[in-house]
């Protein structure tokens, strides 16, 4: 069983170290950008080369690697790490017509830079991997982590999900129709009734192991699907809610009216007393938002209360045991994560 013991999240909201759900930072130009900490613990000579995803990845991992030694593996999900460096390097290649070029952006352009940098900073020579399967990158990382715990019981692992917005990647996704054409405030995200969402970014890191004692939460199930058929999503939802008594449903709805049918299909199956929560007005849309949702679920389970800012439909329940997260990335990649009280 995968138990989450610590969680840290750098997001566009006040979620790092002093979590405060009462303030809503607003989107600018349809982008929700992270609030970056000062990174006081990261050597300056290392920090200068890091792209944003590496900074926020290392930043959120630092409290964990600083405290827990002998972590048996670093398992990261990311779809966009290194993209800014890739595009900066590409522009250099084209602008200087393949002339004499500087290598730093190229070296930093591979997606594994986050896991690698965390490994380097903590002198961790064990399992180190980066899952990059777009909207399921974090789920696949979590799945890998769960298998590692089965194979190597009694070990600690670092699990994380990280993505960045870069101007160029924003432009590509915008051109492909994934962001809203009109400027929309994140306060009005769910009422926008148009295609596309707001761009977001963030990093969430978890210390996990197979020990129940003092755990913040446990991950009971991870399911991923690849489909455009909402019946399949309904079927999977039915299975999960019949096997587990759900108290809170965390919906990945993102204000894109083309994708709402999947979320509606799930919600239509929920019992009346289940609280419904949404979160993308806080972090925006990006491939590993379920890492943010997992952080939120841990927060709800630990505090036994749901922050007002994420409530879509409230409940009379006063204790929360099982939380089901459902997310859909760009219409085809779907995931369910069931998180429960430890």
């Amino acid at each position: 069983m995968l138990y989450i013991h610590q969680s840290y999240c750098i997001s566009p909201q006040q979620t790092f170290m002093n979590v405060d759900w009462n303030v809503l930072h607003e989107a600018m130009d349809n982008k929700l950008k992270v609030v970056e900490p000062a990174y006081e613990n990261i050597p300056r000579n290392v920090l200068r080369r890091m792209g944003k995803s590496v900074r926020i990845g290392v930043g959120a991992a630092f409290p964990i690697i600083n405290e827990i030694k002998n972590i048996a593996g670093i398992i990261i999900g990311t779809a966009t790490a290194g993209k800014e460096d890739s595009f900066t390097f590409l522009k250099q290649v084209m602008d200087y017509d393949e002339g004499l070029l500087t290598p730093t952006n190229f070296v930093q352009s591979t997606s594994n830079a986050i896991a690698a940098q965390i490994g380097m900073l903590s002198a961790n020579k064990f399992y180190n991997i980066t899952h990059v399967h777009k909207g399921l990158a974090f789920e696949n990382a979590m799945f890998d982590a769960a298998m590692q715990l089965k194979e190597n019981p009694q070990h600690d692992y670092l699990l994380g999900g990280v993505d960045e917005i870069s101007d160029d990647d924003f432009n590509l996704n915008n051109l492909a129709g994934w962001y809203k054409k009109e400027i929309v405030s994140n306060k009005d995200l769910y009422e926008s009734n148009s295609s596309g969402s707001l761009a977001g970014e963030g990093s969430a890191m978890f210390l996990i192991n197979d020990k129940k004692e003092n755990a913040a939460a446990k991950v009971v199930a991870i399911k991923t699907l690849f489909t455009k058929d909402e019946e399949e999503i309904k079927q999977q939802t039915k299975e999960l809610i019949s096997e587990n008594k759900i108290d809170v449903f965390i919906s990945g709805e993102n204000g894109d009216n083309r994708l709402q049918r999947f979320y509606n299909a799930c919600e239509s199956l929920l019992e009346e007393d289940i609280a419904i929560v949404h979160f993308k007005h806080l972090c925006g849309e990006y491939p590993t938002t379920t890492a943010f949702a997992t952080f939120l679920a841990c927060d709800i389970l630990q505090k036994q209360s749901i922050p007002n800012i994420v409530i879509k439909k409230s409940t009379d329940k006063t204790s929360f045991g099982n939380i089901l997260i459902y997310n859909n990335y760009q219409g085809e990649q779907h995931s369910f994560i069931l998180i429960s009280k430890a």
Binding site: S109, M120, K134, N171
Partner: protein
């Protein structure tokens, strides 16, 4: 726990469009690296590359794929995947129930001209607009083959596809799937050509792995896939080799070079031996990473000397096909599987003088040889090192 067997192989590289063509070329010491390349880079004709002769149009027509959005990375993947699933005689139901794990470092970003246009365009996106992502070849193939269950893309730089094999094997061992189709792809790209050139590690002649006078690496392109199945499902099937061990370790030293003593490579090989429950002296042959850079060959040699009292025979196929980056791990593993299946070892090319300090000499001749356990190494930027052990069944 079940043993895991390799029952299908598909390979495309600069020395052949199929597994059989690759094997024959390896046996005959064929080098696919040359200055006569078509890829539209300033360095075509100037630096040698291991380019696959088939053009995108030829690949499209042979694969009957006519989607404008398909990049070369996807075409090479589909080509190798097709061969692997036919080789293992998988039904379409078996394919759609398999785990599918692809690995790449550049993915669709090899279409540099279009990408350069699209990152700043406000309209008129190129047909590749949704195909640049490293996961794009995987997603295309999920649709193409109706793979609905577990699909994944891994990027750990040049060890990516070795990790795809490791993950596939673990998924089967843990009982999540019965079969896994695992591999990787990378094609020539202005990004990697100019990136490695900026690091001054591209050789201007055909590379010389483990040679004292090595001048750097040559980039190549390629794709390979393996079909992994549980022993119970392999009755009456052709079996190339067993996936016996795997080890993933991090060098934790530098973003683009390996530590002096090769800690990462050493730990990856050691872990693979532990998982396989083998002693170092039971390894009969090694398909080394051997990129022919100053740093890699020295540190990999040192790591081998640390692990083995007598270093087994070894070879780096980088002198045949160049460094295929994300595909290098699975191609090395596929060649190792062929070595085991046919009980033969392939010769190292371009080797003249050993590096003084480690003093290691790679295997120089084709030979029929009794092989039980073969190791395959793949190391990448970020210190990501993975070692695999394949064994005779």
């Amino acid at each position: 726990m079940s043993r895991i067997f390799i029952t299908g192989i598909g390979i495309i590289t600069s020395i052949g469009n199929s597994t059989e063509e690759n094997r024959v070329a390896l046996m005959n010491g064929v080098c696919g690296i040359s200055n006569k390349t078509k890829y539209p880079s300033k360095y075509s004709g100037v630096l040698p590359f291991g380019e696959i002769a088939l053009s995108n149009d030829e690949l499209k027509s042979s694969l009957n794929i006519h989607d404008e959005s398909v990049t070369r990375a996807t075409l090479l993947s589909v080509h190798a995947f097709e061969e692997a699933i036919k080789d293992a005689r998988l039904s379409s139901k078996e394919i759609s129930d398999s785990a599918f794990i692809n690995a790449t470092t550049v993915g669709g970003m090899s279409e540099t001209e279009e990408l350069y246009h699209d990152i700043s365009a406000t309209q008129n996106a190129s047909p590749f607009i949704s195909s640049y992502d490293v996961s794009a070849p995987t997603v295309f193939m999920q649709k193409h083959y109706g793979i609905k269950d577990f699909a994944n893309t891994i990027n750990t730089a040049c060890s990516s596809s070795a990790n795809a094999i490791m993950l596939g094997a673990r998924l089967i061992k843990n009982g999540f799937v019965n079969k896994a189709i695992v591999g990787g792809v990378d094609c020539l790209s202005k990004m990697t050509i100019n990136g490695f050139n900026a690091l001054q590690i591209l050789s201007d002649e055909v590379c010389k792995p483990f040679d004292a006078d090595r001048k750097g690496l040559n980039l190549g392109e390629g794709a390979a896939f393996l079909v992994l199945e549980k022993e119970e499902d392999c009755a009456n099937k052709k079996i190339y080799a067993e996936v016996k061990g795997y080890g993933n370790a991090n060098d934790a030293f530098h973003a683009s070079s390996i530590s002096d003593n090769g800690d990462g490579p050493f730990l990856a090989m050691q872990t693979a031996l532990d998982v396989a429950q083998l002693n170092a002296d039971e390894i009969d042959f090694i398909n080394a990473h051997g990129t022919a850079t100053e740093n890699n060959d020295l540190t990999e040699s040192r790591a081998m000397l640390r692990l083995f009292k007598n270093v087994p025979r070894f070879v780096s196929v980088k002198a045949n096909i160049g460094h295929t980056l994300g595909a290098a791990g699975v191609i090395g593993a596929a060649y190792s599987a062929l070595s085991i299946a046919y009980q033969e070892v392939y010769p190292a090319l371009n080797f003249k003088n050993k590096i003084e300090e480690p003093g290691l000499v790679p295997n120089l001749q084709y030979e029929q040889k009794s092989l039980k356990h073969v190791m395959a190494n793949a190391f990448g930027f970020g210190g990501n090192c993975t070692s695999l052990i394949l064994s005779k069944v």
